[in-house]
């Protein structure tokens, strides 16, 4: 299964506005994307399009997360989402 790691760049972590922007972008992808903290088992991964899941994940700035997806367009989807995570969304 394609996967990518990303380091959270937003100052407030994956909370509030960054979480909303990311969940919305994840929901627009053609494939289901999951998110987990780096080192956590894939079985515990959460739905990346769920803002509530993202909030319970509690990822702070500098934390490393793993994104996973499967199917047509998975690689492109993951690349786009990694880019979003590695942007400081609080600055926009």
């Amino acid at each position: 299964m394609p996967e990518r790691t990303a380091t959270i760049a937003s100052r407030s972590g994956l909370h509030a506005r960054p979480a909303a922007l990311f969940a919305e972008a994840a929901g627009e992808q053609p494939v289901e994307v999951t998110i987990a903290m780096h080192g956590e088992p894939a079985d515990d991964a959460l739905d990346a399009a769920s803002i509530l899941s993202l909030m319970t994940l509690g990822a702070a700035k500098g934390d490393v997360v793993v994104l996973r997806a499967e199917g047509d367009g998975a690689d492109a989807a993951l690349d786009a989402l990694v880019k979003l995570l590695e942007t400081d969304l609080d600055a926009e």
Binding site: A20, D47, A49, L52, S53
Partner: protein, 566 residues
């Protein structure tokens, strides 16, 4: 023609059309099952459609909002169609639960999860509950809870408003507030005064007025009339003119004969302070420092605090700024300081008392204040909330001295401090009466309870007597900084009531601190009486057998109030 009499809490005479705030959504009964004629698939589809509708509505509002409000609405809109929430609700529906009950329970468990994470997440827990209530309302086909969204101005009628409603209250479209419950110290009253909106609380029966009805509201007299008369229309027109002149304070609080009563502002941060200075405030009588601490899991650093305090001090160079040290507990819980499981939080470890259980936080705050004061030109005074004894006052003064703070003081809000004011003031340089809590404790009546509204007013002769005892204690204690009796100010909501401000002046209170919007009205009325007349009115109020009579007797002697619509 239908009339309602309530308690006026914020002046203004205005005519507008009514919008009723929908009743809070009731909990679907525990164990409510799916109807026999509905398949789980249809129920899940119905739930998803309701969730989508709630999402679209919130998203639409987010699109027209700006700043922080927009971000919160966008996040809340996403929660409405969140897969985690909807999947766990679908699971319950497949097990036979009704859609309403399923989303109710799913929302509760997600909200609890967020609550347990603390901090920012804990605050979002209430957003999940709000979304859940909206989805249930949508499923039932009843109006969404909360303040109605509208582009045309209206008079909001509600049972009572919660602090959370302030965020969604748009003062550009809400003309006035009327509630059937609540009291003079309720959140509705505080919100109305800070926004400068006319408001009437405890107007029983007003919930029955139909949406769209035209009503006249007199926020000083506490009166609401359906289908306004010609006289009432004229009164509303006159108010529109006088309110413009009442919007400006000349920055000089004095009686007609030149007895100076500086009028100060209550502020909660630098933004408030700048606005208060622009409105002519002669200083700050209550700087609430909680803003620095609320919504945090850990204590802010000394550097961070000092910078935040200095920003307020800098709005008042050369003027007095009275800072209140951290007042956590009761209605202002803080995870690192207060115990949320206390059976009786108003009588618990709150205010100065948090220093008993978590020593160090107060000393670090005093260090930050001293540093900020030394870097600014404001005349900084510092007081502790919830002081009950002279020994506590003494200990606070020595903590201040150790930090290098020149003028320590105490809040008088526990009746014991008023009763022993002479010995309390021997320890410190000044006192400030917090009339909201002083009233709550003197009358043993919770500030938020509508049924106790009549008890919970600072017009209660018992409360006025406690004010008088504090002033007498201060006089007995003798000299303050300049040889006069030690100053006793008032910084509760009472100071914002022009009639009560006159009475407090007559009782010997030296400064009045209020929400900046009230400065002009209080200043205007104070200028119409001499100190001797104010003292006479104070004696009259003290002699009254009830709060109602105290207020009526004093108002009858101040015809200027009626002329100005105050």
């Amino acid at each position: 023609m239908q009339n309602f009499q309530g308690v006026g809490v914020s002046p203004g005479r205005i005519i507008g059309s009514v919008r009723q705030m929908p009743k809070p959504v009731s909990e679907p009964p525990s164990g409510e099952r799916l109807g026999a004629d509905v398949s789980p698939e249809d129920a899940v589809a119905g739930l998803k459609a309701a969730a989508q509708a709630v999402h679209d509505e919130l998203k639409g509002r987010a699109d027209t909002a700006s700043g922080d409000g927009k971000a919160v609405l966008e996040a809340t809109a996403l929660m409405a169609k969140d897969t985690m929430l909807l999947k766990s609700a679908a699971k319950l529906i497949n097990a036979g639960s009704s859609a309403e009950r399923a989303i109710w329970e799913a929302g509760a468990s997600v909200s609890e999860m967020l609550h347990n994470l603390g901090g920012y997440m804990a605050e979002r827990a209430t957003d999940v509950l709000d979304v859940r209530a909206r989805i249930v309302a949508e499923l039932r086909g009843v109006p969404a809870p909360g303040i109605p969204a509208s582009d045309t101005p209206f008079i909001l009628v509600a049972e009572d408003l919660a602090p959370a409603d302030t965020a969604t209250l748009n003062p550009a479209v809400v003309l006035a507030l009327v509630t059937s419950g609540g009291g003079p110290q309720s959140h509705t009253a505080i919100i109305a005064r800070s926004l400068g909106l006319p408001a009437v609380v405890a107007a029983h029966g007003v919930d029955s007025v139909a949406d769209g009805s035209e009503v006249y509201v007199d926020g000083a007299a506490g009166f609401v009339a359906v289908s306004p008369s010609e006289e009432q229309r004229a009164a509303a027109r006159a108010w529109a003119e006088t309110s413009a002149t009442l919007a400006e304070f000349d920055g000089n609080g004095t009686t007609a004969d030149g007895h100076l009563v500086p009028l100060l502002a209550n502020v909660g941060g630098a933004k408030d302070a700048v606005a208060a200075a622009a409105l002519g405030a002669q200083g700050v009588g209550l700087f609430r420092t909680e803003f620095c601490f609320l919504e945090r899991d850990t204590e802010p650093s000394v550097d961070e605090q000092a910078a935040a305090y200095k920003a307020v001090f800098d709005a008042f160079p050369g003027k007095k700024v009275v800072l209140r040290t951290l007042d956590a507990g009761a209605d202002k819980p803080l995870p690192f300081l207060t115990d949320a499981t206390e059976p009786n939080p108003a009588l618990g470890v709150r205010g100065y008392r948090t220093d008993f259980t978590t020593p160090g936080v107060l000393e670090r705050q005093l260090e930050a204040i001293a540093r900020a004061a030394s870097e600014s030109d404001a005349d900084v005074w510092v007081m502790a909330p919830m002081i009950s004894t002279a020994a506590e006052a003494g200990r606070f003064a020595s903590l201040c001295a150790a930090a290098g703070i020149q003028t320590p003081g105490v809040m008088v809000e526990v009746p014991s401090a008023a009763l022993t004011a002479a010995t309390v003031l021997r320890e410190v340089g000044f006192a400030s009466l917090g009339t909201n809590d002083l009233t709550q404790y003197a009358m043993a009546a919770d500030r938020q309870l509508g049924p106790l509204a009549e008890l919970n007013t600072p017009w209660q002769p018992a409360v006025l007597r406690l004010v008088q005892l504090t002033v007498e204690g201060a006089a007995q204690e003798g000299s303050g900084r300049e040889g006069d009796p030690k100053p006793v100010g008032v910084c509760g909501e009472a100071a914002a009531d022009p009639a009560l401000a006159v009475v407090l002046t007559g009782l010997g209170v030296t400064t009045l601190s209020m929400t900046a919007r009230s400065l002009a009205a209080v200043g205007t009325v104070l200028k119409t009486v001499t100190l001797e007349q104010a003292q006479e009115l104070a004696r009259l109020a003290l002699s009254a057998p009830s709060a109602l009579e105290a207020r009526d007797w004093v108002r009858a002697k101040l015809p200027v109030l009626e002329e100005l619509g105050l």
